[in-house]
Symmetry: C2
Subunit: 221 residues, 2 copies
């Protein structure tokens, strides 16, 4: 990624409060998180790339975590936009969810950011919190409230295990046959599995007594 | 992890060729990979922890990649041992595979190493090659050859997507309900999904023309 000269970008004279400024910061943030990962991306360098003062980034987004969250929302859309796309898609709920999710990964401009998001969530608490919040609002919230799936807070994360594992072995650590399958076949293969998690009778599993595990953090955290 | 004093361990006088030496190196390697990840673990520090000369590590394992591969095999067992455990387990093939896989993750002594293995494979080419080789020999090979599943090289990786995604959201980024479910429920929930991938008629998907994707590496690789 080329870093624009600070003086040049400052001379463009973006006004602090304009929507363009917020958008420029988010575009720079998405590129920085995708290229460097959560830990190594800094507010200072993102502000420089966007041609604004770092204090303005804090004013808009409060913290690096807030900036990460907002740049994820820029990728995925607002909860209302997600709901509208689900409503517009064809097929079972599982097929619609897979179509939306893998549609995001198939776009060359969003794939590096989604990869960085998954890897950052594995090793950084702040990124993990942002990804969890996104999953709650954009997926559990939409599928529970808008589509009326009961126990969405338990069912949607189960569906996420299958989608995430497929994304990991298709895009992050490309492994055949997943990496070479047409995306329509990925959607067709996973749709019945996602329907199982989202709509089948899973009472046997979902009412089990929950025993919190003591799980150590990953290496390097 | 406490690092034993070099002189103390040297004075124990392990003979270079003994099985104990190889085992000591593998134990130190497993701890180092789990604690530091693939990139930051070094042959020099592993040799020091094991109380041997670094040249001996190279003599045994050729390279860091070879050492990583051997320490994974130590976790999982030989292909023959994996086949024997599959044969001894009850239920459908999907249930037996899930029982074996999540049994590995449930052991507190192997979980940090498996986490490090998954994260290292996401960002390091050598670790990725080692994990792929392990998957080919220990899972595709065993399930294809010993159990007689056709198209195992396509079916087992599909099953891996579901198991890996579950392991990620249960152990690496602990997320409910996965993190709090009893492991028997995890196995019961996934078994029919794995059976679908391993034994259902998937010709519609598995004979599709393969179009290799151009997938960029993850951030930081």
């Amino acid at each position: 990624m080329s870093v624009p000269d600070v003086e040049t970008t400052r001379r463009r004279g973006r006004r602090p409060g304009s929507p363009n400024t917020r958008e420029a910061v988010l575009t720079a943030a998405r590129a920085a998180f995708a290229e460097h990962g959560y830990r190594k991306a800094t507010i200072r360098s993102i502000a420089r790339d966007a041609g604004v003062d770092p204090s303005l980034v804090i004013q808009f987004f409060t913290s690096k975590e807030g900036l990460f969250r907002a740049s994820l929302e820029l990728l995925i859309g607002s909860p209302e936009e997600v709901a509208a796309r689900f409503a517009a898609a064809d097929g079972t709920l599982g097929r619609r969810l897979a179509t939306f999710y893998f549609g995001l990964w198939e776009r060359p401009d969003t794939r590096p950011a989604l990869t960085a998001m998954a890897l950052s969530a594995a090793s950084e608490d702040e990124a993990r919190r942002a990804v969890r919040g996104l999953m709650a609002r954009h997926f559990v919230g939409v599928i529970g409230r808008e589509i009326g799936v009961e126990q969405a807070s338990r069912r949607v994360p189960l569906a996420a295990t299958q989608m995430l594992g497929m994304a990991f072995l298709r895009y992050v650590v490309p492994t055949d046959p997943m990496a070479s399958m047409p995306v329509d076949d990925v959607v067709g293969l996973l749709a019945p599995v996602l329907d199982r998690y989202l709509t089948d009778d899973l009472d046997e599993f979902l009412t089990a007594e929950l025993i919190p595990l003591s799980v150590p953090g990953p290496a390097g955290s």
